[in-house]
């Protein structure tokens, strides 16, 4: 048994090493190929980086919700993507109404604020509702059960919104102030993207301070360390969980508006893919880790944006952008295999079984 075990062990090691080497080869050869062909000038690379950052900051905001919930409840809140969608979609009506009055042209920032508030309120409401109905009764259940309930909640929300608002999509109105490009330090960047990035950073910082400095933030961290001990210390665990869900949902709702600002289209299914990507970001950065979620999000955005062009184009693969999701998922799998604690590592030593 001993000898066969060793053989088997080194076979797997070998395999994993081969895996690593292939990935490195793809990256190096592809990058070399792309850069040496000189097809893309610096202006284009900068564009790509900016795209990646703006996309990534939206992922980061949504990822915050995932990571916080996982940190406390050790469950993947599959319905979080739908919380994002609910905020974005409902706020559309506010935005459209304001636009009808010409409000957005006259008071753009106030208008944006109102829309954000509507989105965050709706998202928080939906998030709390889901927690109350679908998750709270299942808190003691084995791992699979809340997962399925979360998947059920996700479907339910998607189709409820479809039933409410119709199966087609709606397009956010344009904020006249935010149209077109602006030049910052010699780099051209779209105004909407700038707003998205700035807004996201602002919210992330606010959230971080909230978790680190306030009393309830400390309570959240305590509960994620050890729920029972925290309860013994007199912390109202239920309330903390509610706050966690609420804050995460609010962040997602805000992300929804920022997303809609950049992409304009909202529809009932818009939360599904960003939800998965955001969760990937959370894992990439280190689940349970708030700065990690932010880093993971930005990183994922960049990889998605630059990856296909940087790596695959150099290898001569046709239509590489079709495979951009392959990048995201491969990154995920790689991180999970080789560094499951994520880029910034898990703050908590979690038992995974």
């Amino acid at each position: 048994m001993g000898r066969t075990f060793w053989q088997r062990f080194s076979l797997i090691s070998l395999f994993l090493w081969a895996f690593r080497i292939t990935v490195v080869l793809v990256v190096v050869v592809g990058t070399y190929g792309t850069l040496s062909s000189g097809k893309y000038g610096p202006a284009q690379w900068i564009d790509i980086v900016i795209f990646g950052l703006s996309q990534g900051s939206i992922y980061a905001l949504i990822a915050l919700g995932y990571t916080m919930v996982y940190g406390i409840l050790r469950m993947i809140n599959f319905a979080h993507g739908e919380v994002f969608m609910s905020g974005a979609y409902t706020a559309y009506f506010a935005a459209a109404a304001l636009n009808g009055f010409g409000f957005l042209a006259r008071h753009p920032f106030l208008g944006l604020l109102i829309v954000l508030v509507v989105a965050m309120a709706t998202a928080t409401g939906v998030g709390l509702l889901v927690e109350r109905i679908a998750y709270r009764p299942l808190r003691r259940a084995p791992r699979l059960v809340p997962l399925i309930a979360a998947i059920g909640a996700s479907f339910f929300l998607q189709y409820t919104f479809r039933g409410f608002f119709g199966a087609g999509f709606q397009a956010y109105p344009d904020w006249p102030l935010f149209k077109g490009q602006m030049v910052v330090a010699g780099i051209g960047i779209l105004r909407t993207q700038a707003v998205a990035i700035v807004g996201a950073v602002f919210l992330m910082v606010a959230l971080y301070l909230f978790v680190m400095r306030t009393k309830i933030g400390t309570a959240m961290r305590a509960v994620s360390e050890d729920m029972e001990v925290a309860a013994m210390m007199g912390i109202n665990v239920d309330r903390v969980i509610v706050v966690t869900f609420g804050v995460g949902a609010a962040a997602a709702g805000a992300a929804g508006v920022l997303y809609a600002l950049v992409f304009k289209q909202v529809w009932f299914f818009m939360g599904f893919v960003p939800g998965i990507k955001a969760f990937t970001s959370a894992v990439l950065g280190g689940i349970g880790n708030i700065p990690g979620a932010m880093v993971g999000g930005l990183f994922l955005g960049l990889i998605e944006s630059a990856g296909p062009i940087l790596f695959l184009d150099g290898l001569g693969i046709p239509a590489p952008n079709q495979l951009k999701d392959v990048f995201a998922f491969t990154m995920l799998v790689l991180v999970l295999i080789f560094r499951p604690t994520g880029i910034l590592g898990e703050r908590l030593a979690a038992k995974k079984a």
Partner: protein, 421 residues
């Protein structure tokens, strides 16, 4: 134990006998006054003739199917009855994918009162669905499938019951390519498809024709249905310096591309062109002002081309549904339905008791024998492989990005090619 054995044997034999009773009889080859090698439909006196639709009526592309269904309903309203029998329409939603097509077709095929069908919307549905219907002897005329392989001479005999009044995408791609080459006089085009058989086929048809006319395709890219960030793809394309981007895809992704192409450096002056998948007021909603000036190929609906017969039809449409047409295949559906109804008229035979009998093969043959038939979409003649269309394809230009200014075929989008007197 012996008693049990007897019991078992008895039970099994009873079941086998009873089961045998339920084996469905082969559809009668002779019924009433009609003899048919495939089967006969009997419509009792006082019962309606049943035809069906299998179209995409829900979901983001639902307008395509609803629009076609409207055309069918108008045709039924106009005809009112065939040989004294009223017409009943049933139908299934197909969902624009192969499984949906299979399930819809199977469900319809199980109905032995069904005479013929109009559908499908997406070519991916017709591939499995048409053979299923034909196996039950039900012929189907599609108002919207455009994939070339469905009427290819090399297609299998399973498709012998399939015809279409919609154009073949080979034609649409060629018209688009000719327009870009000879009218816009451009020689460098980049194409984008979305992974669907329709878009890929059309992009390829365009590219082939364009290259044959001396142009170059600078980039052949693809995105995924559901993608929202097109900027990396557009940046990549920008590096190849095309003069026009051809993206024959559907509304959601098309909207993103149109909008974002204006935001990518290097593409500010590049022209945009789409195809009939984008001929939808929702596209204006999605793309906004970015769509202004964009070109689209789509069936030609001008009175100069189709004649006043189309205008009359359009008036009926607006009167019944209160809106302008939602998509492009309403007239094709109208023609398809009329083809079927007329074929029924030709081959249906009544007996002394007043029941109607329709031979399935006879119906199919009558459909394929259509020659010089004047429909709303033109003069239809069916070739032996099911292409009946009189393809009039035009290139339109969008003049305003406001969806409330949707006036298809007149001002927005405006037809600009081919030029008619």
């Amino acid at each position: 134990m012996k008693r049990l054995q007897i019991l078992i044997t008895l039970a099994v034999s009873v079941l086998l006998a009873v089961g045998g009773y339920f084996v469905p009889a082969a559809p009668a080859a002779t019924m009433g006054p009609v003899t048919d090698s495939i089967g006969v439909v009997k419509v009792s006196k006082g019962q309606p003739i049943t035809i069906a639709y299998w179209l995409v009526i829900t979901g983001p592309n639902g307008n395509l199917g609803i629009d076609s269904r409207n055309g069918i309903e108008i045709a039924i309203d106009d005809q009112k009855a065939v040989l004294g029998f009223p017409i009943k329409l049933i139908g299934e939603d197909t969902g624009c994918n192969a499984e949906g097509g299979t399930t819809a077709a199977t469900k319809l095929a199980a109905n032995n009162q069904l005479v013929a069908a109009v559908g499908s919307t997406c070519s991916s549905e017709a591939r499995p669905g048409a053979p299923i219907l034909w196996k039950a002897g039900i012929a189907t005329v599609s108002p919207a499938n455009t994939a070339p392989d469905l009427t290819d001479p090399k297609r299998s005999a399973d498709y012998n019951g399939y015809l279409r009044t919609a154009h073949n995408d080979l034609v649409q791609g060629a018209v688009g390519a000719t327009f870009v080459r000879t009218v816009l006089k451009l020689s460098k085009v980049a194409t984008i498809h979305d992974g669907s058989p329709y878009a890929e086929g059309l992009a390829n048809a365009f590219a082939a024709s364009f290259k044959k006319q001396g142009g170059t395709i600078t980039a052949a890219e693809a995105v995924n249905v559901g993608d929202t960030d097109m900027r990396p793809v557009l940046t990549k394309i920008a590096a190849t310096k095309p003069e026009l981007i051809y993206f024959p895809i559907f509304v959601a992704e098309g909207g993103f591309i149109a909008r974002q192409s204006k935001e990518v450096s290097g593409l500010a002056n590049v022209k945009l062109m789409g195809a009939d998948g984008l001929f939808d007021p929702n596209f204006l909603k999605a793309a906004g002002d970015a769509a202004t000036g964009m070109y689209q190929s789509s069936p030609d609906t001008r009175t100069e081309v189709l004649g006043s017969i189309y205008t009359v039809f359009l008036q009926k449409y607006e009167k019944k549904y209160g809106t302008k047409p939602l998509s492009i295949f309403h007239a094709h559906a109208y023609d398809a339905t009329n083809l079927i109804l007329q074929a029924i008229q030709k081959v249906g035979k009544t007996d002394a008791a007043g029941n109607l009998y329709i031979g399935r093969k006879a119906l199919r043959d009558a459909l394929f024998a259509t020659k010089g038939w004047k429909g709303v979409t033109g003069t239809l003649t069916c070739n032996p492989y099911g292409d009946c269309a009189d393809p009039h394809l035009a290139v339109y230009q969008i003049t305003a990005g406001d969806p409330s200014k949707w006036d298809p075929g007149v001002t927005n989008p405006k037809p600009i090619y081919p030029v008619v007197k």
